[in-house]
């Protein structure tokens, strides 16, 4: 390569790296400011100063004091954990049936699953709300959790895609060894699907933790059933311009998610990859 070509190549590389670094910094900056603001005093958060002086970690304590944060967290955990269990228990069988057996109508069912995956949630909320209202279940977490025990389209799809990749040899061998269908499923195939299962579990947990629309719809009339997302929204309503407190509350809401992410990073990335690549 000529000298000139080498130079252009080098400059191109440097430019690329610079852009990447700028974007990385831009992505991190909001987090930095959230943390900084969470440590500021009242007056400071309204001033253009960017560095807290003095530091006020007492803001976090104040947030716990001002709202029943523990109850909201408990509600959110309840919702997320139970929904995740429900999704796994109900979606895995459906995905298994779709992926591992040949039966008439399975393509139609799959199309149906895909259609439901792509259905905006707001389409079904009006009748469901009316139904729950008549059953006296609004203001509780039941409308949020119960449907998860009956299958989740996205999870079914994801699991089906993964289960397709397991060769039939294993099941055949198990059958020949005398194992029944259930046993084959539980002892042979599913243990091989652990990456997909953990990805689905992680996604569902995260989706519930972050959910705002459904709790707003179903639990807002009973503050005892609020989740963290509703709590944060109400907190902001009450403390509107005390940005230091609002950012402290926001941070408290975000931290568990970030912690889970760093602990389960590999699973996450693998899971996200599973959704797209096999499609």
């Amino acid at each position: 390569m000529t000298r000139r070509a080498l130079w252009t190549r080098l400059l191109g590389l440097v430019a690329e790296r610079c852009v990447l670094i700028v974007l990385l910094l831009a992505t991190l900056t909001p987090f930095v400011f959230i943390v900084l603001t969470a440590l500021m005093t009242d007056q400071q958060s309204l001033s253009p100063n960017l560095w807290p002086d003095p530091f006020r970690p007492a803001n976090f304590v104040a947030v716990f004091h001002d709202v029943p944060l523990l109850r909201y967290t408990a509600n959110t955990m309840l919702y997320a954990v139970l929904a995740t269990v429900g999704v796994l228990v109900s979606s895995v069988p459906v995905a298994y049936a779709l992926a591992r057996y040949r039966w008439r109508g399975r393509h139609t069912v799959l199309l149906g699953v895909i259609a439901l995956m792509l259905l905006p949630v707001q389409v079904t909320t009006v009748p469901l709300y009316i139904l729950y209202n008549h059953l006296g279940l609004t203001g509780t977490l039941v409308p949020l959790i119960a449907p998860k025990f009956f299958g989740d389209a996205f999870s079914i799809f994801l699991l089906r895609q993964f289960l397709l990749t397991i060769p039939q040899d294993y099941a055949n061998a198990a059958r020949i060894d005398g194992a029944g269908e259930l046993r084959t499923m539980l002892r042979v195939i599913l243990p091989m699907a652990k990456p997909a299962l953990s990805a689905v579990a992680l996604f569902q947990f995260l989706a519930c933790w972050n959910d705002f629309f459904l709790p707003l719809l179903y639990s807002s009339e009973n503050p005892n059933a609020w989740t963290l997302s509703l709590g944060l929204s109400a907190f902001q309503n009450q403390f509107s311009t005390q940005w230091n407190l609002v950012m402290a509350a926001t941070l408290l809401f975000m931290v568990p998610v970030i912690a889970v992410f760093f602990a389960a990073q590999r699973s996450f990335v693998r899971g996200v990859t599973l959704t797209g690549v096999k499609g």
Partner: protein, 326 residues
């Protein structure tokens, strides 16, 4: 676990039938497996879809019994000035923002795929904002973009520019939401990254040797290879746009500084953040015009099914894929 080979001792003929469908025992098993899903689909999708259609022909406020009014809701829908606004806002998101998201995510994925050290960290950093609860990130951006006291305004002042009013200005509120959306496209970036890694290197090398430049390489080698992933990402992004609610709700909620109102003005400022799902919520769950909200829901249903069908065209592979046989 031993793997049976073709030399395995012969078993009774009935055992190894795979063609011609399932045996009876398997059939029951499959039915059992599908049962929670069937019940779920019937109760949580079938029933509501039928009911919402019926409700769209009535007036119902959840206090007095429903009252049949024929096509009146639909007539109002076509004359309601809020509906076109909501549709335009949502379309804008579903088209402009999705395209920007795809381009941005692909761009970052390409940049990250070309570095060796630190790519895991870079991926983690880009992915992080997409996991954060949407209302938390919306609140963060409201604060950051505050035209009086926010850091962005301070930075702009440093270069002598007046900060736009962002969430208080109807011309800037959607761009601000776009920035928020771009900040959170880490999930798309990760799948593009994985797809890029899967591009067959032989093809890339062959095309380089044939004299192709970067753009040509991209168009003829990379793009076709990642096309399915692109399509999938586009579909999910569009469907997310059609359900966009939480961030719009938060952003309308905040009147920077002032706002003694106990009544939320959703769509603030001037209906620029009134997205279709938000409007549906307003009609159904603030005004409790459940009949009208049902009509809005039917329209949303029709549009999203059309969009899904159009975008999913050509994915028959997806549906007809089967587990490999030996």
């Amino acid at each position: 676990m031993s793997v049976a080979t073709r030399e395995a001792p012969a078993r009774p003929a009935t055992r190894t039938v795979r063609r011609g469908g399932l045996r009876r025992r398997q059939r029951w098993f499959v039915l059992a497996l599908l049962s929670p899903g069937i019940v779920g689909a019937a109760v949580f999708f079938g029933y509501p879809l039928v009911t919402v259609l019926g409700l769209s022909f009535s007036r119902y406020n959840l206090i007095k019994p429903p009252e049949f009014i024929g096509l009146s809701n639909y007539r109002f829908l076509f004359s309601d000035p809020m509906v076109p606004k909501a549709i335009v806002n949502t379309l804008w998101f579903a088209v402009v923002v999705v395209i920007l998201q795809l381009v941005y995510a692909l761009g970052i994925a390409m940049l990250v795929s070309r570095i060796r050290r630190g790519s895991t960290l870079a991926r983690a950093i880009f992915y992080l904002p997409s996991m954060i609860p949407p209302i938390a990130s919306a609140l963060a951006f409201i604060y950051l973009l505050n035209p009086g006291t926010g850091p962005v305004a301070a930075a702009l002042r440093l270069v002598g520019v007046d900060s736009p009013l962002w969430f208080d200005d109807p011309h800037w509120s959607k761009p601000a939401l776009t920035l928020l959306a771009l900040w959170g496209t880490g999930n798309l970036m990760v799948i593009f990254f994985a797809a890029l890694l899967d591009v067959p290197t032989e093809l890339v090398e062959a095309s380089t040797m044939d004299g192709a430049n970067a753009v040509q390489r991209f168009r003829h080698v990379t793009l076709p290879s990642i096309a399915p992933v692109l399509q999938f990402a586009a579909v999910t992004a569009v469907i997310d746009a059609l359900q966009y609610f939480a961030q719009a709700y938060m952003v309308s909620n905040v009147h920077n500084g002032g706002g003694a109102a106990t009544t939320l003005v959703l769509g603030y400022p001037q209906n620029s953040t009134l997205f279709y799902p938000v409007y549906l919520y307003v009609q159904g769950f603030r005004y409790f015009n459940m009949g009208y909200a049902s009509a809005l829901a039917i329209l949303l249903f029709v549009v999203s099914m059309i969009v899904a069908a159009v975008l999913m065209r050509g994915s028959r592979r997806l549906v007809h894929a089967e587990a490999e046989e030996s």
